[in-house]
Symmetry: C2
Subunit: 474 residues, 2 copies
């Protein structure tokens, strides 16, 4: 039976007015001119901000919104009382009062690898209805896809070492922190530091200690001893409050005290300084102190570039806490100094409408080719080689293939028809998908572009529409 | 009477577990070792990601959280049932059950200009209690301060032209979209496109139309006519769906039709292409069509650098919709290609503790000077010249000055003692503050660093503590 996890809810707060106002003004004008035919809108990414692939994420939250969107009487009264211009009319407010989505949603499952211009979500419904979803859908999908992709890139370079999401404090508010934990788990992080994200999404959570705990006590050694007393089986000591080398020696003292009681120090964490040099020195100190099993974890402005550099330089690190650059989806390359905007340029575009028994493809061409869109409702075929590695994709018209397209039915006539997997299942599937992508598309430095072609029929249609429009305009 | 606006709430969802787990594990260890003395934590920014000043924002949401934080029985049951490690004990769960903040908060009002290392918020309370606020406070303050600052930078270069927040679709989820609208209004944006942000915060909201509205109809001219019919006094036409020049000519037709009915076309919007060339051509077409009053608005990956370039090149633009680079707080300079992380590096650090009748300053020195902290509870003095321009700031010990420090009382013994201004009042005050900052600190290119010094007493204390720690370590 189709189900939507409770976690999809995120919060119970009514978000009906999470719309850009033009969704309502256009709705008003559509309503006034009796234009409310069934049409399809398509969510896709225009480009990849960093690297050569994207991991789609966020569908669960989007479907929850679509199926539960209702305008409360409070919302409607507020809309009518507000002084903003242009104003919307009581008859259109009645339309909103009765709103309930009864159309279709097709989408790629979360964790699917997607490329620019490939449809990720298709929504078919009345024109006024489907445009209401634009802002919410974009905000959720653009962000989670950005973060799942960033997480996957970090996991790729970490060579199986454990990676934790430590980003909440630099995420852009609460939703960003919680959804970043979710999306980064999809991308392959092992756990999060953010407890509420675990409460919502059943993600493992972890915690060690902060500098405050040490500053708050007369000596570092005493602070370590207090912490170890409380957590005899799970102590990871933060050793850089005053002097990392001295901190490592204190950790050895504590590790030996714990061993005498039949306990074991799990490891230490470095959070500042030259992580390469310090990790080597700390490893020696731990080894010399007969604590070969104690792990060294690192944090401090890490990302895929820094982790790759540290590991290739031989840093003896066993795990990473990744914060700011994960939770903000940083597109900054700290080695080259080049950067871009921390956002996925995903858009939600009108691609076809039904007029009587005709399906009319629509598109945008404009002066700026980067902002043009492919016409018509579309599907994606993914081709694999005999070893199941991905070779290439083809974007085709919706009806060109009978089955095996990447987009699958999620909602039909307003009813959920999809069994959402658990987040852990999505994580495992994502790992399989990333493994199927050849390595040349996953390198940090100049990854190969994954080939995406248009089917002949789609290309023909596009050219036909451009010619037609140009002859109309001229 | 002290008040906290309803809008501070944001959502009613319980956010007690919006903590990094180490806040609870440290709490457990503090509890086990009976270490719960009163101490002060200080929120400050380590650096400015872009430009030479910051606009503090987010206090309203932080105070709401602090005053309302309670652990529900559901939260506590979940914490005890969850399998995460290390586990917390039933006796500490009882402590959390009874948690209610009863300490003091001092802070700079929202809209205050702040500089690196200056205290923005000081929270004094029991050690276990004040550390619970870290993640929420950082997530909210770091983000809103980043966005208010970005907004102010954009408004500075816009020369009084109207600026709109259009960023929700690229913001990092719902909170980011809503709080970005709030913070960008503080920084000087005139309005937002996001309706729910208006519903929460009483920000003016605006909307025009999307390409879809035009694509959905047989002709652009017909689409414009439909829209103008619905909004005879507030029509701004999007003219770049197919061909901007042709779109401008269609706008003239509509403008003249409207005039014949005693109405007026408000303007047009450009959303793609070469905005400099197109705006000049469109201005000519509108003027030649006797529509000199019709405004030209622009959107499309704008930020302070692009707007500055367009205006200095003579683009006849009357207003700007700013999206992605505002709502993500982009630190990317599109002209140089240099970028950084879209996050304010704000931290929440332990600066002093009370032991018996002694106040003991604490600090972090470590190997990494960028991560060192200034000891003790601190206040900031701002010096102005006879024209009320800001000259310099001095960070001093809390008791060094009697009055006129930037930090003012917000909460005392757990009770709110501050009248929160309205958001509009904050916006006006922010504008006054930014006007008081000399222009040399506001240039896009190499702004002058605003001078911030430490008082002699603070410097002496810092040196004393470093010496003391070094003699202890060696």
């Amino acid at each position: 039976m189709a189900n939507l996890p409770k976690s999809a809810l995120l919060t119970e707060t009514n978000m009906a007015l999470f719309v850009d106002y033009y969704e309502l003004t256009m709705g008003q004008a559509d309503f006034d001119s009796s234009q409310n035919a069934v049409c399809t809108e398509n969510y896709f990414a225009r480009a990849i901000p960093q690297g050569a692939y994207l991991i789609a994420a966020g569908l669960e939250q989007v479907i929850h919104y679509i199926l539960n969107l209702r305008f409360s009487e409070d919302d409607l009264a507020w809309l009518q009382s507000s002084k903003s211009i242009p104003e919307i009319s009581p008859n259109f407010v009645d339309y909103l009062r009765n709103f309930k989505f009864d159309g279709d949603v097709y989408a790629v499952p979360e964790g699917t690898i997607v490329l620019p211009n490939e449809p990720i979500i298709n929504i078919t419904g009345r024109s006024i209805d489907v445009q209401l979803f634009e802002t919410y859908l974009l905000s959720i999908m653009n962000f989670q896809t950005l973060i799942a992709t960033k997480s996957s890139r970090i996991v790729n370079v970490s060579g199986g070492r454990i990676c934790f999401d430590f980003g909440a404090r630099r995420a852009h508010g609460r939703d960003a922190a919680i959804l970043s934990a979710r999306a980064s788990f999809i991308g392959g992080m092992s756990a999060t530091s953010l407890v509420i994200a675990s409460q919502y999404f059943d993600i493992p959570y972890v915690g060690t200690l902060a500098h405050k705990f040490i500053q708050d006590r007369p000596s570092e050694l005493g602070a370590f001893r207090d912490y170890a007393m409380s957590f005899p089986h799970n102590t990871i000591l933060l050793i850089d409050t005053y002097d990392t080398i001295q901190g490592a020696k204190h950790a050895v003292t504590i590790g030996q005290e714990m061993r005498a009681k039949g306990q074991e120090l799990r490891g230490v964490r470095l959070d500042s300084g030259n992580l390469l040099e310090l990790s080597k020195q700390v490893r020696s100190i731990l080894d010399d102190g007969d604590l070969k099993e104690a792990k060294i974890f690192a944090s401090n402005d890490l990302d895929e570039f820094e982790i790759d550099r540290l590991l290739k330089s031989g840093a003896p690190l066993d795990g990473f806490g990744i914060g700011t650059r994960l939770a903000t989806g940083a597109t900054f390359n700290p080695i080259s100094g080049n950067g871009g905007v921390s956002a996925l340029p995903g858009v939600y575009k009108h691609v076809e409408k039904i007029k009587g028994d005709q399906t009319i493809p629509t598109f945008k061409i404009s002066n700026d080719t980067a902002k043009s869109t492919l016409p018509a409702r579309k599907q994606v075929q993914r081709f694999t080689d005999p070893d199941q590695y991905y070779i290439k994709d083809q974007i085709c018209l919706w009806d060109e293939i009978d089955q095996d397209g990447l987009l699958i039915p999620i909602v039909k006539r307003g009813e959920l028809v999809y069994d959402f997997p658990t987040l852990k299942e999505i994580q495992v599937q994502t790992q399989n998908n990333v493994s199927s992508l050849p390595d040349k598309h996953k390198t940090l430095d100049q990854p190969a572009t994954y080939p995406v072609t248009l089917s002949q029929k789609l290309e023909n249609l596009q050219q036909e529409l451009i010619n037609e429009k140009q002859s109309n305009v001229s």
